[in-house]
Subunit: 207 residues, 2 copies
DNA sequence: GTCTATAATGAGATAGAC
DNA sequence: GTCTATCTCATTATAGAC
């Protein structure tokens, strides 16, 4: 049995992903965990503190993804494998993205950490893209790469919310995940060289 | 002096754009308008109703943009002119985009209308792009056009929130508007033909 | 560490006088 | 149409027994 603290955080992640952190009351959290509301406040003196703790976890998970870029199965394309892992992670923590505006207002302290996180993520992606340019897989100027990084970041961050508001898809399946992934991929496609396209084709057949 | 009802809606648009519809209380609204809270409830019996009324206005404004696609100044490029007007409109009603997730939960009735709006908007954009393909300004398959439409829609809808959460830019200036606009434009750039690029150049010099 | 109570707040909303 | 007064209620949060 995990610790009560962990059970609280697990429950909150689920609840927040489903309904957003503001529609979820402390009473609901306690009920879900199966503890009393007073006990909840023993672990987290403010509701805000739960958000901080969850963000810590999120960061840790991101670090794992970022620091293990070479564990790809086929090994043929670390860039795409990285993107896929990163994508899945964002889905697991989707409430941070979906309710970003409201969270920012409630817990302004998270802002700075979030910026740091994006700084690093975008730097990672940019480095990866420039490397692909060097390898002759992509053909793009640095300015184009910068635009690409930002667009990829935005699509990745918001496609879940888009899917929900546009097509009433609240519960996302692996197929949807694929769709979003392709949507991001399509940003890079016009910049791929013949060599890059061949490699991508090999990857797809591999899956 | 506009009617009290209009003054309420004007004030709410401002307040909501600044702080989001949930951080803004009915007390604050009444104070801003300079009326009593009780009076506010004479016009809108539920806070939700204010959102509905604002959405009506938003739709009307969109209709104006959509139905007047030929009023472009230089007349050389209706597509881009349309995009610019549409972009500015989204900025004026940015809280609908930024706080979409939370609004959806509070006023589920808005969902359906929102979907309709997106249906129409995306159909408009697609038609416009296909027309540009026919005119030889763009080179893209229909599948590519579909991907483009969705990506353009997502970037347009969320770049403001991105700017805020990524760079702490809450107050957007015309320069930022330009930045976002270019970001969307960069999606189409790799698909432009030589003829299309020449036309775009003429447009830029015209401004 | 966990529970029972209960406080403290602050929001949305209403009734009825003017 | 506008205001005063008041209500209801959900929610966060605390104190103290077990």
């Amino acid at each position: 049995m995990p610790s009560t603290r962990d059970r609280i955080l697990d429950a909150c992640l689920r609840l927040f992903n489903d309904s957003g952190p503001f529609a979820v009351t402390t009473a609901e959290i306690a009920r879900t965990v199966g503890i009393n509301e007073g006990n909840l406040y023993y672990y987290f003196r403010k509701k805000e503190d739960i958000l901080f703790a969850l963000f810590e976890r999120f960061q840790d998970a991101l670090n794992v993804v970022a620091n293990a870029p070479h564990e790809t199965g086929g090994g043929s394309d670390p860039g795409l494998a990285y993107l896929e892992r990163w994508f899945r992670l964002m889905w697991e923590w989707r409430f941070f993205y979906r309710d970003g505006a409201a969270i920012k207002r409630m817990a302004p302290k998270l802002r700075a950490r979030n910026v740091k996180l994006a700084d690093r993520g975008q730097a990672d992606i940019k480095r990866m893209l420039l490397q692909m340019v060097e390898q002759g897989l992509l053909a793009a100027s640095e300015e184009e790469v910068d635009r690409l990084v930002v667009n990829a970041w935005i699509i990745s961050s918001y496609w879940l919310d888009y899917l929900d508001s546009r097509h009433n898809i609240g519960k996302v399946t692996p197929e949807h995940l694929d769709w979003g992934f392709s949507q991001v991929l399509s940003l890079f496609l016009p910049y791929t060289t013949k060599a890059g396209q061949a490699q991508e084709k090999r990857r797809r057949q591999h899956v």
